[in-house]
Symmetry: C2
Subunit: 349 residues, 2 copies
DNA sequence: TGAACTTATGAAAATATTTTCTTATTGATT
DNA sequence: AATCAATAAGAAAATATTTTCATAAGTTCA
């Protein structure tokens, strides 16, 4: 694995690009002399453009991390196409590690994760820290931190606020999605979800928040639990719901807690002869499914999956560098974006 | 304001400390040669001990920030001792800026903050970014980001997930505090709060969460609104409550959403002839009040106020450096700690 | 058992960066 | 108009850091 021989950029290259002397660049970078705003901007822009700032930044932190243990529970393994979520996250993480020259030692398979297994694997690899994805059980976290190992959770949260974590801003994102439905005129909305971990219930919280924030009667917020997050389960849940209620009733929109569920729901709705979005609107969450390719294209919430891994790495670096157990644990929530396509319309009047 | 002439540490000093050659240190730091785990550790430890790693880290980021506008709404001004919260945060922030040589231009007083005022002030100071404390109104955020200025919120949150922010982990912390009360045996708990911003309602969420997580009847969760967060208002609210209900009734513990309220509550309870914690337990939140000096000493939740400013600065730096509007907004929650003192005991049986 | 490798470390050469000091320009003050 | 002070930028000297290459010590294998 050899990088293209992109020769390192230095302060010299920046000075040429910005048309100033080498020393001037140094002065700008260190604030060791008065510099006019104009030149300062020119230099900084050049430095950024050439990737000098980024390189410098990388070099400063890279030091701390040599080997990182990546613990992946079986159900996050991207064995089936279903778990595109984890796959995307892990993929971006792997690439970032390669880029930075961090050795990533995976621990996966071989039955359920236990603190013992993780600690042993970390010792064996003499890892500087641990990244743990999709698993935030208390016993696990206790076991690991008792061994004095530094850990960052990806797509999880430590309720005891001892361990750093990165997760999507589920609650706000779900509220934003529901807000959008409400703004289109929907008042009776079904939230299709499943009994997942706390990070999934946050989406339900946000769904409810939106009703409160918009002063809409909470009686319009309906919740339906599917058996899991696979498309088939969403399909079954919606089919059963349609049957029980003899059609969608007052409900004019379905907000699904995952794109996969939304795909299943759309199948069930179409099978029941309902038009999307004419008769009923559907909204997803995650932005991983090929929502663009189904018909109608799925309106959804885009989660910045590609940024979760790198951010986790960054938290781990800072933790290793600081090496200060007094420092408060950090929980990082990444903002999500609405992706508006065709599966949502105003309700029939 | 002159730093003690602590001469800069370099790779040379590290090599001496770690008893290796200069080049070896360089190799460790850059991964440019195979290094034994033993030497690697020795070098890294030495580098950390001497503050070399920290210095390097600082240097890498300092570049991006020269001038920062600090916008402080009137009600966060530390004019009265009441707002020890803001005072502590601002104090730590100021010191961090001094340490790093960042120029901090305050914008405060002169009536309510408006987007226009902030944008103009930022332009005038040619600020690289804005720190906004205790104010996250939508119009304000829209106005600022429309002007293309980078902003980080301190003790606030952007529901639209466009702007980075730092805040305490209010929800989990409140749950932790309530958990503690429940673990001592309390089942009927009063949450004393006020109509604050969303960050305050998060504490109420956590209070409720604890009942759910512990499978305790939610009928035991009582909420009482004070007129504000000053001690006097807590005192009045509790006095009125005691009067209305002819004593505390079944309630055996009061969890206050702020230390100031707790101090007031304690005064009202004592005035009513109740013993703390014999008759009723009291728990605070914030860890700023002189809870250690009151009698009995106040059990509370310690919020890492000193870290909020520096973390906000760090977010701003990264944002300026990346200069990538595609990058998702980040919301950083800092973990809090339980401080156990004397004001909480098991309820009378 | 000794040639061929591999792993570790350091000395010295090659680079990169910072600091000091000089010079130019502008505007204010006598 | 001459002088001074403040602001900007750069040349050159002083340092700091990285890289290349040499060497030692162990390992493997025919």
């Amino acid at each position: 694995m050899r990088m293209p021989p992109r020769k390192k950029v230095g302060i010299k290259d920046v000075s040429r690009e910005a048309q100033v002397a080498i020393s001037t660049v140094s002065h700008v970078l260190n604030g060791t002399a008065p510099i006019s705003a104009e030149v300062r901007t020119r230099v900084l822009d050049a430095a950024r453009r050439l990737g000098y700032l980024a390189e410098r930044q990388t070099k400063a932190t890279i030091t701390a991390l040599h080997t990182v243990l990546l613990a992946v529970p079986d159900d996050a393994l991207p064995e089936n196409e279903i778990n595109l979520f984890s796959w995307t996250v892990l993929n971006a993480l792997t690439r970032e590690c390669e880029r930075r020259g961090v050795r990533l030692v995976p621990l996966a398979g071989g039955g359920p994760l236990t603190a013992k297994r993780i600690v042993e694997a970390a010792m064996e690899a003499s890892a500087d820290g641990i990244l743990l994805i999709n698993d935030d059980r208390r016993e696990l976290l206790h076991g690991i931190s008792n061994a004095g190992l530094l850990t960052v959770l990806i797509n999880g949260e430590d309720q005891e606020m001892k361990v750093d974590s990165v997760a999507p801003g589920n609650r706000f994102a779900a509220q934003m999605a529901t807000d959008w439905l409400i703004s289109r005129g929907h008042r009776e909305i079904l939230h299709l979800t499943w009994e997942g971990r706390t990070t999934i219930t946050r989406r339900q919280d946000g769904f409810i928040d939106a009703f409160r924030a918009n002063n809409i009667p909470r009686s319009g917020a309906h919740v339906l639990q599917a058996a899991g997050y696979e498309p088939k389960m969403g399909e079954d849940a919606i089919a059963a719901w349609l049957k029980d209620n003899d059609g969608p009733g007052d409900v004019t929109a379905i907000f699904c807690a995952a794109d996969n569920l939304a795909l299943g729901a759309m199948r069930a709705l179409t099978a029941a002869g309902l038009d999307i979005p004419g008769d009923i609107s559907v909204m997803g969450f995650d932005g991983v499914a090929l929502g663009e390719l189904v018909s109608p294209a799925l309106t959804t919430v885009d989660v910045p999956l590609n940024q979760m891994g790198p951010e986790a790495l960054h938290l781990l670096e800072r933790r290793v560098l600081a090496n200060d157990s007094e420092r408060a644990a950090q929980r990082l929530e990444l903002g999500c974006k609405l992706v508006i396509r065709q599966s949502v319309a105003a309700p029939r009047t």
